[in-house]
């Protein structure tokens, strides 16, 4: 009886409404995110069996020892972080002017049109876009054949294809909208009178940007960095297609371990390790910028 009335009272509170509203999403997240993640963490502490997909239920930290001591994983992880950092830098630095232009120079009634146009790349499959870049940058691609037919070069350029640069270009293009949007939102929130105040207090347009606009846009920049950096570390399609399998990143080796070599425990431990490293890198980045993120309004 007591429990029944308590339950009855609880169902009428705003908190209950809140829980009721998020429960489908929470259930979905739990089932499709937490459960697989838990499985991967569980597998990473198990022992590999001889059979296909066979895992022996025997706890060990051997997988982690391999993952953290074998130089191949360290090299691939470092390369992944290096590529992701390059991609993030390129994306955010290129996205900022676009976001700035839309926020400050596009008339308010045209802003949504511009944002809509920026999402156009999403209309095609990511794979198609990656292949398009291969067509453009490839050995016999648009750029090379174009330059050769113009007589500017005699032999195809190799530094634009099958290398880290090509991967960076492709990924930076793919993630551009993700970087533009958070920066745009942060710029939109800046009270324009703050910029006038900067001018009024003796600063030029440029110094006002450094002292007012950029610090206030930092929450958006931080968001953009995280949104670009975290998924690119785990990207394996682009290095596979653009790099022609010659420049594997950490995700490629995880895929190989899981499905190719069929060592799920080791693959899992590399995956968990990579996740921890990316998480730590992201956390450090957020902490460095903490003073910008505290500002409300």
């Amino acid at each position: 009886m007591d429990i029944k009335t308590r339950w009855g009272r609880f169902t009428r509170t705003p908190a209950f409404n809140g829980y009721a509203m998020i429960s489908p999403t929470a259930f979905y997240a739990l089932l499709l995110l937490a459960a697989p993640l838990g499985t991967v963490v569980y597998l990473s502490f198990m022992t590999d069996g001889a059979g296909v997909r066979e895992v022996i239920n025997q706890p060990t930290i051997g997988n982690y020892l391999t993952a953290w001591t074998d130089p191949i994983y360290r090299a691939l992880m470092l390369r992944s972080l290096f590529v992701s950092t390059l991609v993030t830098l390129a994306t955010v630095i290129l996205a900022f002017p676009v976001a700035y232009y839309i926020s400050f120079f596009v008339t308010p009634n045209k802003k949504s049109l511009w944002l809509f146009l920026i999402t156009i790349p999403f209309w095609t499959s990511y794979l198609v876009r990656v292949f398009l870049w291969k067509v453009i940058l490839g050995f016999n691609g648009v750029i090379n054949s174009g330059l050769i037919s113009l007589g500017i070069i005699e032999d195809p350029l190799t530094w634009i294809n099958v290398n880290v640069g090509a991967i960076v270009v492709t990924l930076a293009h793919a993630y551009a909208p993700f970087a533009i949007l958070p920066i745009f939102v942060a710029l939109e929130k800046i009270d324009r009178s703050l910029l006038e105040a900067g001018r009024d207090l003796g600063e030029t347009a440029l110094t006002t940007f450094w002292r007012v606009t950029l610090p206030l846009a930092m929450p958006g920049v931080v968001g953009a960095v995280l949104i670009v950096f975290i998924p690119t570390v785990g990207d394996y399609v682009t290095p596979d297609i653009i790099g022609g399998g010659k420049i594997p990143l950490i995700a490629n080796v995880i895929q190989k371990l899981m499905l190719g070599i069929d060592n799920m425990p080791l693959g899992s431990s590399v995956a968990v390790s990579a996740m921890l490293i990316v998480g730590a890198a992201a956390a450090i980045f957020v902490l460095i910028n903490a003073r910008f993120l505290k500002v409300k309004k």
Binding site: L194, A197, L201, G202, T204, R211, V212, P215, L216, K294
Partner: protein
């Protein structure tokens, strides 16, 4: 003190596309005065202020500050500083950093600058607030930070864009007094933009009343209140009663008018400050220039009769709408509620004292 004015505006015109925002503003603002731009929203007062600050280019005309033509001089190069309507306090900085924002190029040492910041904060009554985050301040405190941030640069002119409109009534009245005190203390020319006529009257040495991109009248508060040049100005500043009138005779600085309900009046030509537009004439008078006569009292000048139609009690004052005999619309008059003076009921027949010397003629 007949030095040249701090700000000279000569036929300043401003167009936004087809919209004519400023239609030939000509005015001199004296050094060290508290000057107000008063008018309804859309009258161009803020545009004029932003023009002086350098945020708006003018289409034609001249803006001189301290004898220098401001043509082509950017906002950051002008000897003016502004207190914005939204205060524009930098949310990512502390109070101290906000106040010190404009001191970056100041050649003084760090210690001297810190001392200046402390002094500025003390001046606006925010001593000890330096380390606080700016976004955690209340509206009144932000305003003070904005003031300190502008005044620390010792500008020749301080521009205030409706600085008090976001504050509640009590706070606003306190800040009005503080701003006057501050202005006297620092001796800087203050230019205030406001739509609040009371605020302008209380604070200003002189007021420019603006309508439709033009200055309708520029005078000290008392002249503006007692001798408005047009019905529109009279209506905008305080309350004014209007009665239809007819000019009968005009000679030697004297005017004879026939006023509905009040009869033939003899007034001085100074009581017709506006230009003669040739339109229909009317007589205006403020509520406090009429006095209800209680039993046994007699008028010192003239009196007329009427009946009380509406009573509005304000505590210190009572406003009466009185229908004067022979006048179509009731007129408003105000009486101070002194002891022994009862508040009249509606419908009471009463005698009202008035004087032709308090009338203003519009024509």
């Amino acid at each position: 003190m007949t030095t040249r004015p701090m700000i000279e505006l000569k036929d300043v015109q401003k167009y936004y596309g087809d919209y004519h925002a400023l239609r030939g503003i000509t005015a001199d603002i004296r050094a060290g005065e508290f000057f107000s731009l008063l008018g309804p929203s859309g009258c161009g007062k803020t545009t004029l202020l932003r023009t002086i600050a350098g945020f708006e280019d003018i289409t034609s005309g001249v803006v001189m500050i301290d004898g220098k033509d401001m043509e082509g001089v950017a906002a950051n190069q002008r000897p003016t500083n502004m207190v914005f309507q939204s205060y524009a306090i930098f949310p990512h900085l502390t109070v101290e950093q906000n106040v010190a924002f404009g001191l970056r190029k100041d050649p003084r040492t760090k210690e001297e600058k810190a001392k200046a910041v402390d002094e500025a904060l003390q001046m606006v009554g925010l001593k000890g607030f330096g380390k606080r985050a700016a976004h955690a301040l209340s509206g009144g405190q932000r305003q003070r930070v904005a003031l300190a941030r502008a005044l620390i640069l010792k500008p020749k002119v301080l521009l205030l864009d409706e600085p008090l409109s976001a504050l509640d009534k009590k706070m606003r009245e306190n800040m009005q007094v503080e701003l006057i005190r501050l202005q006297r203390q620092v001796g800087i020319t203050f230019i205030l933009v406001t739509h609040d006529q009371e605020e302008a009257l209380v604070m200003s040495d002189r007021i420019a009343v603006m309508f439709d991109g033009e200055i309708a009248q520029l005078d000290d508060p008392e002249t503006l209140y007692r001798l408005p040049k047009s019905r529109r100005v009279a209506d905008f500043i305080g309350h004014m009663n209007f009665l239809p009138a007819k000019v009968v005779d005009e000679a030697n600085g004297e005017i004879d008018v026939d006023v509905q309900g009040l009869g033939r009046c003899h007034i001085n030509a100074k009581q017709a400050p506006g230009t003669n537009t040739g339109g229909e004439a009317s007589i205006g008078f403020r509520p406090e220039t009429l006095t209800i006569l209680y039993e046994g009292q007699s008028a010192s000048d003239r009196e007329t009769t009427g009946s009380v139609e509406e009573v509005v009690y304000y505590g210190d004052m009572t406003y009466y709408d009185v229908k004067l005999d022979g006048v179509a619309d009731p007129v408003r008059l105000s009486m101070r509620n002194v002891p022994g003076r009862p508040v009249l009921d509606r419908g009471t027949k009463t005698r009202v004292a008035w004087s032709p010397s308090a009338l203003v003629l519009f024509r």
